[in-house]
Symmetry: C2
Subunit: 226 residues, 2 copies
Amino acid sequence: MDKRSISSSMEDYLKTIFELGETSVKTQTLAEELSVSSASVTGMLKKLSDLKLVHYERYHGVSLSKAGRLIALETLRHHRLIETYLTEALGYSWHEVHDEAEKLEHHISEDFEDRIAELLGHPTYDPHGDPIPQRDGSVPVSLGKPLTEQHEQETLVITRVKEQKGDVLKYLAEHQLIPGSEITLIQKAPFNGPLTIKTSRQTVALAFELAKLIEVERLAVLDSSS
Amino acid sequence: MDKRSISSSMEDYLKTIFELGETSVKTQTLAEELSVSSASVTGMLKKLSDLKLVHYERYHGVSLSKAGRLIALETLRHHRLIETYLTEALGYSWHEVHDEAEKLEHHISEDFEDRIAELLGHPTYDPHGDPIPQRDGSVPVSLGKPLTEQHEQETLVITRVKEQKGDVLKYLAEHQLIPGSEITLIQKAPFNGPLTIKTSRQTVALAFELAKLIEVERLAVLDSSS
DNA sequence: TAAAAAACTTAGTCTTGCTTAAAAATAGTT
DNA sequence: AACTATTTTTAAGCAAGACTAAGTTTTTTA
Ligand SMILES: [Mn+2]
Ligand SMILES: [Mn+2]
Ligand SMILES: [Mn+2]
Ligand SMILES: [Mn+2]
């Protein structure tokens, strides 16, 4: 319960479990995501379990407890608010914010959090379209669906880009593939092949795996609701 | 030499040695300032000495090496830029910034440092009047002298308040005793007794020890130089 | 100047978070 | 169902940075 006894490391574990897990998360998956050994993960899971922050059954994966979920959301809120702030207030590009936020998320005070949230007008989405958990623990909904699930010839708006790597994000931004951009899906090659997309400026081909990370909404839906 | 191998703890030790020491700093002084045991200090000094960041002679105190001084200045620059930024950009009061800066100073990137410095117009003093070390390692001069060394009836401008404690700073601010304020030294009680000061709004009595932490310049000097 | 006091260092532990290597459990395959 | 491959856990240990208790060195004082 005492927030002050949660280390940066624990926060990263809880946040990562949240991000990975609709359902229960496997040791190895966590290990890869956090770049530590499986043995390290097992050790940390035991500790988090003792603190009642996760439900952990040996050999069968983890999931977050109520208390653990709150800490995960709090950390994620810090991360995404910081990303938004760095972009809006300090002129960072969206591909530069992740690493800075990954460190700062553990070290800002609640006061700092409140101040930048206020200054940004209590934003609900970060520069990548990721929902920013709110102070009450609620998480804004994401209505978008992966670009790979859309039909050809559809005109779409990008709502979210689920990618962290700076170089990929930089590439996408150079081609206007950022939240808010309007695009048309020209062609989907069969057998999970590349997708051809028309942006306001040009036509781009995207690998299936990358396109899967881009979430979009149908333009018509947006228009009728506004 | 490799900045990446310097821990937060080391940065705090180096910064504190810099702040305490014109000359060599004693183990116990450091221990008190950092709120750790003397044994911990000895242990860390040995490590810093191995890394050539300090000159350390057993039983005879430490001082910074060239390399150690650079790290101390870098950390202090972070600290004071952050304090300034929190005040100017996020609306913090000057008594709230220290604790936040104490943590963040170790976790911001050089890019972040540059961006806030730029945004603030490359400031030379922080909200307390402390000089902000510059990127090239130079430190702006402080011309002020302690209030306790001034003559009665002198009209003065506060240039610096060398106090960290939030409650004291809050009190001082409530009485306009902040850098930039014009004051008159009405009376100095003998035997290091309290000082009576007139501000723009009222007359205040300050304990000698507190007044010693307030640095001022003579108003005439300021006028002639402007 | 020698004893007492104060300051400092050494020695031995603890905690946190990580590692590798070995053992155990689960999952997959014939 | 038994054997093998994979995953996970246990065991042992390292590095930081802190602590307490005990031993040294320096400083003070009588
Ligand atoms: Mn992190
Ligand atoms: Mn994001
Ligand atoms: Mn610090
Ligand atoms: Mn300051």
